[in-house]
Subunit: 339 residues, 3 copies
């Protein structure tokens, strides 16, 4: 049942060079620290170079410079981490998800399900929705009205597409994610909140990935949009009418408020927030738990917050923070008086 490959076979399949014995057999992958004979590891970060001597790995993916002194078979790659990622997919267990609709699923009469799609148990699919070729809709997913799931998409389990959500191809969505819920649109009207109807949808480009329990609200009038290859980690909140550029990645617990526009190739750190109606240019990096309070027009790294301190020292600094303006004014005043 376990797949076995030779180093030479892997090299050929992924366009790598072999240095050393190409016939050594590989049955799995592991970190250098944990690898045993018969396993393949990788060396990407030079910090771990000293593990080459002690690892049990039979084959290691590495750069050519490292390969010269490697005591085992080396697969030589310009980018060892990317090469390893490709090789590792060979050892990923594949769940049995045959084409067809589970007998418990509840599908609207006018929904269109490709015959090669897999629809799991306890799935419901609403009116006028489409599920494309080879798509996998795992157990407990809810797809509402007027949704499109593109070819090769995978909704792992318990994913909700509320309404008017259109997924491109090969979009992968993890359990608990909710796409297309009402945006948070409210008007105060004579002392009570008036709900503003959310008439837009959500458009997700090809090859996006959406993490577990992440939410993407649908737009108020226009759509909320993720361009292609956007990667969202878990527990993220995307407000209505946000637009996220291609190849941007957001780490866990980050959030973008309504109508924020985030560029391409941005990296948004864990727990970071972007206020509504701001624009962030391409290739901006926001460090963890920073709050973006104004638009960003230059690529680069941005931060807010204060460093971690022991609580006693922090209390002193925090107290001074409250006095900052007064203290500086006082000093300047003092300077003036003494001059």
């Amino acid at each position: 049942m376990t797949a076995t490959f030779t180093a030479a076979g892997l090299a050929q399949r992924f366009g790598l060079d072999v240095m050393g014995d190409g016939e050594v057999a590989i049955e799995g992958v592991a970190t250098l620290a944990a690898a045993k004979p018969g396993q393949l590891g990788f060396l990407a970060n030079p910090r771990y170079r000293n593990q080459l001597a002690s690892t049990g790995a039979s084959v290691v993916v590495m750069r050519v410079d490292d390969a010269r002194e490697a005591p085992m078979t080396a697969l030589v790659a310009r980018d060892p981490y990317a090469a390893f990622a490709r090789i590792a997919t060979l050892f990923e267990p594949v769940a049995d998800q045959p084409a067809g609709i589970h007998e418990s699923a509840v599908i609207a009469a006018d929904a269109v399900i490709d015959s090669s799609a897999h629809i799991g148990p306890f799935v419901s699919i609403g009116a006028r929705s489409h599920v494309g070729a080879s798509a996998v809709i795992g157990p407990g997913c809810v797809i509402g009205d007027d949704c499109v799931v593109g070819a090769g998409c995978e909704l792992i389990a318990r994913v909700t597409l509320v309404t008017r959500v259109r997924l491109g191809q090969r979009v992968r969505i993890h359990p608990g994610a909710v796409l297309g819920a009402d945006g948070f649109g409210l008007a105060m009207d004579e002392g009570r909140w008036l709900k503003v109807p959310q008439l837009g949808g959500v458009v997700v480009g090809d090859d996006c990935e959406i993490g577990a329990n992440t939410c993407i609200d649908r737009g108020a009038l226009d759509d909320t949009v993720l361009e292609e290859d956007v990667r969202l980690d878990n527990q993220i909140q995307i407000g209505h009418n946000v637009r996220i550029g291609a190849h941007t990645a957001m780490a866990g617990c980050s959030a973008a408020a309504g109508s924020a526009k985030i560029g391409r190739y941005c990296l948004i750190g864990g727990g970071a927030g972007v206020l509504g109606h701001l624009e962030i240019c391409d290739q901006a990096v926001i460090t963890a738990m920073s709050l973006v309070t104004h638009s960003i027009r230059e690529p680069g790294e941005y931060s807010s917050g204060t460093p971690l301190m022991d609580n006693r020292s922090w209390r002193k600094s925090a107290a001074r923070f409250k006095q900052l303006d007064k203290l500086f004014r006082g000093m300047r005043g003092g300077d003036k008086e003494s001059s």
Copy 2:
């Protein structure tokens, strides 16, 4: 299938004045920037006033001062955004949710379901729970024991009411929300955590809205309470025994820890936190990602955190923050010595 209204008809229905041709037909709503002929837009924020000249909208809701120069039919409102919100509901697609219980639903023998309620597929409802008139329980919802869902409530899909959750009328809950889970009550006992039973419930007032994947824990002994017309966005965490006053709105990813008491008409920004056992008075505004570390007794706006900076500058300020107390002490010392 598309609804059509005349400007004059809308004016009459919503108590607005018409300026211009009242017979123009409206088939949809849009932003001024995106609107095409046959659509209705709105002008609330003066910043967008210049869009009046270029919009394709056939009708625009606006204030009387703007209407005088408008090149299209105007619907005149004191509060154009609220008027627009009301008009837009006419164009909201309505899902087909007929009265009755889906054959797959599992309902406890002693649960009471109003005959006008809609119970969707894969719903389970526990012992002694009640579902009121015209309530909609969408697919995959779990309602535990001893819950009450008031008339006109809508649980969109995959909502969980764990136990002892009592909803007023017209409460709307989005997918993935969990109400009535155990509060986080622990006692350290001889080196191990001892779980404190959570015997209270959750009470939610009329017209509240609860966002996707938001959690509201049930109380330890008394109840966790949301008064009427409270609006919670997505991914919010409300601890046990919290009380939130009427008409308060909390934005995405905000949180209130156990036994916090938040007043009426408060606005809690995205990602903001409220520590446990604090009190916040009515009409307090907490800006995004601020942490409320002490009770608030005066209405007004409150903040914590530092502004966003480029990372290089931020590192310098952050290093200085750590030294603040020492630096100020040194300067004062220096002042003293020099005087």
Copy 3:
């Protein structure tokens, strides 16, 4: 139907001393402020000592010093809160969860379900997974392939174990939690993200508790690990390959990024974040919404952030924060020049 106990009976059952009438009957528990005759309260925090005179409670659990002047029957405990927690379990409603598999559940042919386990409606269980004795799998749970649910575990409702999740005994998981989703592993490869397969699993020790909508990703190569008696509140994000030591508790909305290692008996405050690959020693306390940006090697309390201020004052301090380095340099320069 309501259970009734005498003070003397409770004392005997839990190893406490009685002072006063041991025959008084108890039918419920409450806070001192809300308790009525027939109910039992507790006094743990000296701040509430003055409530002893006014409470309606017939019996109060308290320390011996307080008991001497108590106007009602006292149950004397060294740790009144822990003793109360134990007593309160007697009054917790018990849901009816009989052994057996609900007829709607979908179980893989090679899954092994103990005959004493309860499998609720709309549950799916994947290939090669095991559910142990007396475990309770509530409605709508999804258990994927190769999972183990230990004896006495309780998955309340709508919990997802994606794949390769192994729970010890008596683990309690609240609705919406997702364990074993893909870690957020990405490699940038010629301008596009390449997904790194996540081949590890999740291991959860005995007596852990996982809050509602909390996520624990599975490891990339090795496992993500929670040691025994770890307590996670709601909305928490645990990245791949994180390790959390025994008896550590994390409050709502906190997060630990990939490969972080948190020690034993730590307390992580609400909304706090731990960056990836860091180590936190045993018995560290992180205050709410702090960001751990470096490893912690000494037990103690740690913080970041700034205190809450009225917005006007905060704006001044925030502006000064940006100038901190310049201001300090200027002053030092000024000092030098003037000397």
